[in-house]
Amino acid sequence: MSSEWPLWEIFIRGQHGLNHRHVGSLHAPDAEMAIRNARDVYTRRNEGVSIWVVRSNDITASSPSEKGPLFEPSNSKIYRHPTFFDIPEEIGHM
Protein backbone atom coordinates (compact mmCIF):
# COMPACT_ATOMS: atom_id res chain seq x y z
CA MET A 1 0.00 0.00 0.00
CA SER A 2 1.29 3.43 -0.86
CA SER A 3 1.85 5.67 2.13
CA GLU A 4 0.94 8.72 0.06
CA TRP A 5 -2.65 9.79 -0.18
CA PRO A 6 -3.99 9.90 -3.73
CA LEU A 7 -4.69 13.18 -5.46
CA TRP A 8 -8.25 14.41 -5.97
CA GLU A 9 -9.59 17.07 -8.29
CA ILE A 10 -12.10 19.36 -6.61
CA PHE A 11 -15.15 20.91 -8.24
CA ILE A 12 -17.29 23.44 -6.42
CA ARG A 13 -20.62 24.93 -7.31
CA GLY A 14 -20.63 28.52 -6.14
CA GLN A 15 -24.37 29.12 -6.31
CA HIS A 16 -27.49 27.22 -7.15
CA GLY A 17 -27.98 27.22 -10.90
CA LEU A 18 -24.30 27.51 -11.73
CA ASN A 19 -22.07 24.68 -12.88
CA HIS A 20 -19.49 23.02 -10.72
CA ARG A 21 -16.11 24.56 -11.49
CA HIS A 22 -12.69 23.06 -11.08
CA VAL A 23 -11.02 24.91 -8.20
CA GLY A 24 -7.90 22.85 -7.59
CA SER A 25 -6.66 19.57 -6.23
CA LEU A 26 -5.72 18.09 -2.90
CA HIS A 27 -4.65 14.86 -1.20
CA ALA A 28 -6.99 12.63 0.80
CA PRO A 29 -7.15 8.94 1.75
CA ASP A 30 -10.60 8.41 0.22
CA ALA A 31 -13.57 10.18 -1.36
CA GLU A 32 -15.36 11.13 1.87
CA MET A 33 -12.23 12.62 3.35
CA ALA A 34 -11.55 14.39 0.06
CA ILE A 35 -14.92 16.14 0.42
CA ARG A 36 -14.12 17.11 4.00
CA ASN A 37 -10.69 18.37 3.03
CA ALA A 38 -12.19 20.30 0.12
CA ARG A 39 -14.66 21.89 2.51
CA ASP A 40 -11.79 23.01 4.71
CA VAL A 41 -9.41 24.06 1.95
CA TYR A 42 -11.72 25.59 -0.65
CA THR A 43 -14.91 26.77 1.05
CA ARG A 44 -13.59 28.71 4.03
CA ARG A 45 -15.01 31.96 2.68
CA ASN A 46 -18.44 30.69 1.82
CA GLU A 47 -17.55 29.84 -1.77
CA GLY A 48 -19.83 26.90 -2.33
CA VAL A 49 -23.10 25.05 -2.06
CA SER A 50 -21.93 21.72 -3.46
CA ILE A 51 -18.65 19.81 -3.81
CA TRP A 52 -17.64 17.12 -6.29
CA VAL A 53 -14.42 15.16 -5.93
CA VAL A 54 -12.84 12.97 -8.59
CA ARG A 55 -9.68 10.89 -8.34
CA SER A 56 -7.13 12.64 -10.52
CA ASN A 57 -6.15 9.26 -11.92
CA ASP A 58 -9.69 8.75 -13.18
CA ILE A 59 -9.58 11.80 -15.37
CA THR A 60 -8.64 11.09 -18.97
CA ALA A 61 -7.08 14.18 -20.46
CA SER A 62 -6.28 15.12 -24.01
CA SER A 63 -2.61 15.12 -24.77
CA PRO A 64 -0.85 18.37 -25.72
CA SER A 65 0.71 16.58 -28.72
CA GLU A 66 -2.77 16.01 -30.15
CA LYS A 67 -3.50 19.71 -30.06
CA GLY A 68 -3.17 20.05 -33.79
CA PRO A 69 -5.59 17.34 -34.91
CA LEU A 70 -8.00 18.08 -32.09
CA PHE A 71 -8.33 21.83 -32.26
CA GLU A 72 -6.81 23.31 -35.36
CA PRO A 73 -9.44 22.15 -37.85
CA SER A 74 -12.02 24.37 -36.13
CA ASN A 75 -9.85 27.45 -36.65
CA SER A 76 -10.76 27.70 -40.31
CA LYS A 77 -14.47 27.15 -39.80
CA ILE A 78 -15.46 30.66 -38.90
CA TYR A 79 -19.07 29.98 -39.95
CA ARG A 80 -19.48 28.03 -36.70
CA HIS A 81 -19.27 31.26 -34.76
CA PRO A 82 -22.40 33.39 -34.61
CA THR A 83 -20.54 36.46 -35.87
CA PHE A 84 -22.50 37.10 -39.05
CA PHE A 85 -25.66 38.47 -37.53
CA ASP A 86 -26.48 42.17 -37.49
CA ILE A 87 -27.52 43.11 -34.01
CA PRO A 88 -30.09 45.89 -33.85
CA GLU A 89 -28.98 49.07 -32.07
CA GLU A 90 -31.64 48.75 -29.35
CA ILE A 91 -30.23 45.41 -28.18
CA GLY A 92 -26.93 47.00 -27.26
CA HIS A 93 -24.06 44.84 -26.05
CA MET A 94 -24.70 41.12 -26.02
Binding site: L26, H27, P29, N37, D40
Partner: protein, 258 residues
Protein backbone atom coordinates in the same frame (compact mmCIF):
# COMPACT_ATOMS: atom_id res chain seq x y z
CA UNK B 1 -32.77 38.88 30.64
CA UNK B 2 -34.76 35.69 31.10
CA UNK B 3 -36.62 34.83 34.26
CA UNK B 4 -34.40 31.80 34.75
CA UNK B 5 -31.40 34.00 35.20
CA UNK B 6 -33.07 35.75 38.13
CA UNK B 7 -33.55 32.44 39.89
CA UNK B 8 -30.04 31.07 39.45
CA UNK B 9 -27.12 31.90 41.68
CA UNK B 10 -25.08 34.32 39.61
CA UNK B 11 -21.71 33.01 40.76
CA UNK B 12 -22.71 29.49 39.78
CA UNK B 13 -23.92 30.66 36.38
CA UNK B 14 -20.66 32.54 35.67
CA UNK B 15 -18.63 29.54 36.81
CA UNK B 16 -20.62 27.23 34.55
CA UNK B 17 -20.23 29.52 31.53
CA UNK B 18 -16.49 29.61 32.15
CA UNK B 19 -16.37 25.82 32.13
CA UNK B 20 -17.78 25.72 28.62
CA UNK B 21 -15.86 28.76 27.39
CA UNK B 22 -12.55 27.70 28.92
CA UNK B 23 -12.77 24.20 27.45
CA UNK B 24 -13.35 25.73 24.02
CA UNK B 25 -10.50 28.19 24.53
CA UNK B 26 -7.91 25.71 25.74
CA UNK B 27 -8.78 23.08 23.14
CA UNK B 28 -8.77 25.79 20.47
CA UNK B 29 -5.31 26.83 21.60
CA UNK B 30 -4.06 23.25 21.68
CA UNK B 31 -5.37 22.59 18.18
CA UNK B 32 -3.86 25.84 16.92
CA UNK B 33 -0.44 24.53 18.00
CA UNK B 34 -0.59 22.26 14.94
CA UNK B 35 -0.74 25.21 12.58
CA UNK B 36 2.20 24.82 10.23
CA UNK B 37 3.13 21.41 11.69
CA UNK B 38 0.37 19.05 10.54
CA UNK B 39 1.27 15.89 8.64
CA UNK B 40 -0.49 17.17 5.51
CA UNK B 41 -1.45 20.57 4.19
CA UNK B 42 -5.12 19.55 4.15
CA UNK B 43 -5.02 18.58 7.82
CA UNK B 44 -3.22 21.78 8.67
CA UNK B 45 -6.00 23.92 7.24
CA UNK B 46 -8.74 21.73 8.69
CA UNK B 47 -7.24 21.97 12.16
CA UNK B 48 -6.71 25.72 11.89
CA UNK B 49 -10.37 26.12 10.90
CA UNK B 50 -11.41 24.04 13.86
CA UNK B 51 -9.22 25.98 16.26
CA UNK B 52 -10.79 29.20 15.02
CA UNK B 53 -14.29 27.76 15.47
CA UNK B 54 -13.50 26.89 19.07
CA UNK B 55 -11.88 30.22 19.88
CA UNK B 56 -14.87 31.98 18.32
CA UNK B 57 -17.19 29.98 20.55
CA UNK B 58 -15.07 30.76 23.58
CA UNK B 59 -15.41 34.46 22.83
CA UNK B 60 -19.19 34.15 22.98
CA UNK B 61 -19.24 32.03 26.14
CA UNK B 62 -16.72 34.16 28.02
CA UNK B 63 -18.41 37.31 26.78
CA UNK B 64 -21.65 36.09 28.28
CA UNK B 65 -19.86 35.04 31.47
CA UNK B 66 -18.47 38.56 31.80
CA UNK B 67 -21.90 40.05 31.14
CA UNK B 68 -23.59 37.89 33.77
CA UNK B 69 -20.78 38.60 36.21
CA UNK B 70 -21.45 42.30 35.77
CA UNK B 71 -18.04 43.56 36.85
CA UNK B 72 -17.23 45.21 33.57
CA UNK B 73 -14.78 42.55 32.38
CA UNK B 74 -14.53 41.55 28.71
CA UNK B 75 -14.07 38.13 27.09
CA UNK B 76 -10.46 39.08 26.33
CA UNK B 77 -9.78 39.93 29.94
CA UNK B 78 -11.30 36.63 31.01
CA UNK B 79 -9.07 34.75 28.57
CA UNK B 80 -5.81 36.61 29.03
CA UNK B 81 -5.79 37.87 32.59
CA UNK B 82 -6.85 34.87 34.67
CA UNK B 83 -4.36 32.45 36.18
CA UNK B 84 -4.41 28.66 36.23
CA UNK B 85 -6.62 28.22 39.30
CA UNK B 86 -9.29 30.46 37.79
CA UNK B 87 -9.62 28.36 34.65
CA UNK B 88 -12.51 25.91 34.60
CA UNK B 89 -11.76 23.81 31.50
CA UNK B 90 -11.89 20.03 31.59
CA UNK B 91 -8.53 18.30 32.07
CA UNK B 92 -9.01 16.46 28.77
CA UNK B 93 -8.48 19.57 26.64
CA UNK B 94 -5.20 20.56 28.28
CA UNK B 95 -3.60 17.17 27.56
CA UNK B 96 -0.59 17.60 25.25
CA UNK B 97 -1.12 17.15 21.52
CA UNK B 98 1.14 14.07 21.45
CA UNK B 99 1.18 12.50 18.03
CA UNK B 100 -1.51 13.18 15.47
CA UNK B 101 -3.49 10.16 16.67
CA UNK B 102 -3.64 11.53 20.21
CA UNK B 103 -4.76 14.91 18.95
CA UNK B 104 -7.55 13.28 16.95
CA UNK B 105 -8.62 10.95 19.75
CA UNK B 106 -8.79 13.86 22.22
CA UNK B 107 -10.82 15.79 19.68
CA UNK B 108 -13.19 12.92 19.06
CA UNK B 109 -13.83 12.19 22.75
CA UNK B 110 -14.45 15.90 23.30
CA UNK B 111 -16.59 16.47 20.19
CA UNK B 112 -18.85 13.54 21.06
CA UNK B 113 -19.54 15.22 24.43
CA UNK B 114 -19.64 18.76 23.05
CA UNK B 115 -22.37 18.02 20.52
CA UNK B 116 -24.63 16.43 23.15
CA UNK B 117 -24.16 19.42 25.44
CA UNK B 118 -24.95 21.94 22.71
CA UNK B 119 -28.03 20.04 21.56
CA UNK B 120 -29.51 20.36 25.02
CA UNK B 121 -28.38 23.97 25.45
CA UNK B 122 -30.32 24.96 22.34
CA UNK B 123 -33.42 24.62 24.52
CA UNK B 124 -31.93 26.51 27.45
CA UNK B 125 -34.23 28.70 29.49
CA UNK B 126 -31.74 31.52 28.92
CA UNK B 127 -32.11 32.69 25.31
CA UNK B 128 -28.51 33.96 25.18
CA UNK B 129 -27.24 30.47 26.00
CA UNK B 130 -29.63 28.94 23.46
CA UNK B 131 -28.43 31.29 20.72
CA UNK B 132 -24.74 30.60 21.27
CA UNK B 133 -25.46 26.88 21.35
CA UNK B 134 -27.39 27.00 18.08
CA UNK B 135 -24.48 28.70 16.35
CA UNK B 136 -21.83 26.42 17.86
CA UNK B 137 -23.80 23.23 17.21
CA UNK B 138 -23.35 23.46 13.44
CA UNK B 139 -19.61 23.89 13.79
CA UNK B 140 -19.28 21.11 16.31
CA UNK B 141 -21.41 18.71 14.25
CA UNK B 142 -18.76 19.05 11.56
CA UNK B 143 -15.90 18.67 14.07
CA UNK B 144 -17.43 15.42 15.25
CA UNK B 145 -18.01 14.04 11.77
CA UNK B 146 -14.43 14.79 10.91
CA UNK B 147 -12.78 13.47 14.06
CA UNK B 148 -14.97 10.33 14.05
CA UNK B 149 -14.11 9.55 10.43
CA UNK B 150 -10.41 9.98 11.06
CA UNK B 151 -10.49 7.88 14.23
CA UNK B 152 -12.19 5.12 12.22
CA UNK B 153 -9.69 5.34 9.38
CA UNK B 154 -6.64 5.35 11.62
CA UNK B 155 -8.01 2.73 14.03
CA UNK B 156 -8.91 0.47 11.15
CA UNK B 157 -5.86 1.45 9.12
CA UNK B 158 -2.36 0.03 9.21
CA UNK B 159 -0.91 -2.00 12.08
CA UNK B 160 0.99 1.06 13.24
CA UNK B 161 -1.93 3.49 13.02
CA UNK B 162 -4.11 0.98 14.90
CA UNK B 163 -1.57 0.61 17.64
CA UNK B 164 -1.13 4.36 17.98
CA UNK B 165 -4.87 4.88 18.23
CA UNK B 166 -5.15 2.21 20.93
CA UNK B 167 -2.41 3.99 22.82
CA UNK B 168 -4.13 7.36 22.36
CA UNK B 169 -7.39 5.95 23.67
CA UNK B 170 -5.70 4.42 26.71
CA UNK B 171 -3.99 7.74 27.43
CA UNK B 172 -7.01 10.00 27.04
CA UNK B 173 -10.02 7.96 28.08
CA UNK B 174 -9.20 8.42 31.80
CA UNK B 175 -9.82 12.15 31.32
CA UNK B 176 -13.38 11.81 30.03
CA UNK B 177 -15.10 10.93 33.31
CA UNK B 178 -14.89 14.50 34.54
CA UNK B 179 -17.20 15.63 31.73
CA UNK B 180 -20.09 13.76 33.34
CA UNK B 181 -19.68 14.60 37.01
CA UNK B 182 -22.50 16.67 38.55
CA UNK B 183 -21.49 19.17 41.21
CA UNK B 184 -23.27 22.02 43.01
CA UNK B 185 -22.69 24.43 40.12
CA UNK B 186 -24.24 21.98 37.65
CA UNK B 187 -27.16 21.36 40.03
CA UNK B 188 -27.88 25.08 40.32
CA UNK B 189 -27.74 25.64 36.57
CA UNK B 190 -29.84 22.56 35.85
CA UNK B 191 -32.45 23.57 38.43
CA UNK B 192 -32.89 26.89 36.60
CA UNK B 193 -33.35 25.06 33.30
CA UNK B 194 -30.26 26.72 31.85
CA UNK B 195 -28.27 23.59 31.17
CA UNK B 196 -28.36 19.81 31.58
CA UNK B 197 -26.88 17.78 34.39
CA UNK B 198 -23.59 16.51 32.97
CA UNK B 199 -24.45 12.94 33.98
CA UNK B 200 -27.49 13.06 31.70
CA UNK B 201 -25.22 13.40 28.65
CA UNK B 202 -23.35 10.18 29.36
CA UNK B 203 -25.62 7.61 27.65
CA UNK B 204 -25.67 9.44 24.29
CA UNK B 205 -21.92 10.11 24.48
CA UNK B 206 -21.18 6.51 25.29
CA UNK B 207 -23.36 5.32 22.42
CA UNK B 208 -21.49 7.52 19.91
CA UNK B 209 -18.07 6.63 21.25
CA UNK B 210 -18.76 2.91 21.42
CA UNK B 211 -20.11 2.83 17.85
CA UNK B 212 -17.13 4.72 16.43
CA UNK B 213 -14.58 2.70 18.42
CA UNK B 214 -16.20 -0.53 17.23
CA UNK B 215 -16.00 0.60 13.63
CA UNK B 216 -12.42 1.68 14.23
CA UNK B 217 -11.66 -1.81 15.65
CA UNK B 218 -10.57 -0.18 18.91
CA UNK B 219 -11.42 -1.59 22.32
CA UNK B 220 -13.88 0.23 24.58
CA UNK B 221 -11.83 0.79 27.75
CA UNK B 222 -14.72 0.17 30.16
CA UNK B 223 -14.46 1.22 33.79
CA UNK B 224 -11.05 2.71 34.49
CA UNK B 225 -9.79 5.28 36.98
CA UNK B 226 -10.93 8.76 35.97
CA UNK B 227 -9.06 11.98 36.72
CA UNK B 228 -10.95 15.06 37.78
CA UNK B 229 -10.43 18.62 38.97
CA UNK B 230 -10.37 20.87 35.89
CA UNK B 231 -13.87 22.22 36.31
CA UNK B 232 -13.02 23.12 39.92
CA UNK B 233 -9.79 24.86 38.89
CA UNK B 234 -7.43 22.04 39.87
CA UNK B 235 -5.32 21.54 36.76
CA UNK B 236 -2.43 19.47 35.49
CA UNK B 237 0.99 21.07 35.04
CA UNK B 238 0.28 21.52 31.33
CA UNK B 239 -2.18 24.38 31.69
CA UNK B 240 0.47 26.73 33.07
CA UNK B 241 2.60 26.28 29.97
CA UNK B 242 -0.40 26.88 27.74
CA UNK B 243 -1.27 30.10 29.56
CA UNK B 244 2.35 31.24 29.52
CA UNK B 245 2.31 31.14 25.75
CA UNK B 246 -1.25 32.28 25.25
CA UNK B 247 -1.16 35.18 27.68
CA UNK B 248 2.41 36.37 27.13
CA UNK B 249 1.53 39.40 25.05
CA UNK B 250 -1.12 40.77 27.40
CA UNK B 251 1.10 40.12 30.42
CA UNK B 252 4.17 41.74 28.88
CA UNK B 253 2.32 44.62 27.24
CA UNK B 254 -0.82 45.14 29.34
CA UNK B 255 -3.74 46.52 27.37
CA UNK B 256 -2.03 46.11 23.99
CA UNK B 257 -4.56 46.13 21.15
CA UNK B 258 -4.48 45.81 17.37
Amino acid sequence: MGAAVETVDRTAFVDWLQRIGDSALILGHRVSEWCGHSPALEEDIALANQALDLIGQCQLWLGLAAEVEGKGRTADQMAYLRDVADFRNALLVERPNGDFGQTLMRQFLFDAWHIELLRVLKTSSDPRVAEIAAKAEKEVAYHLERSAELVIRLGDGTAESHERMERALALLYPYTGELFIDDDVDQAVAAAGIGPLPSSLKPAWEQTVRAVLAEATLTWPGEVYQHKGGKKGVHSEFLGYILAEMQFLQRAYPGATW
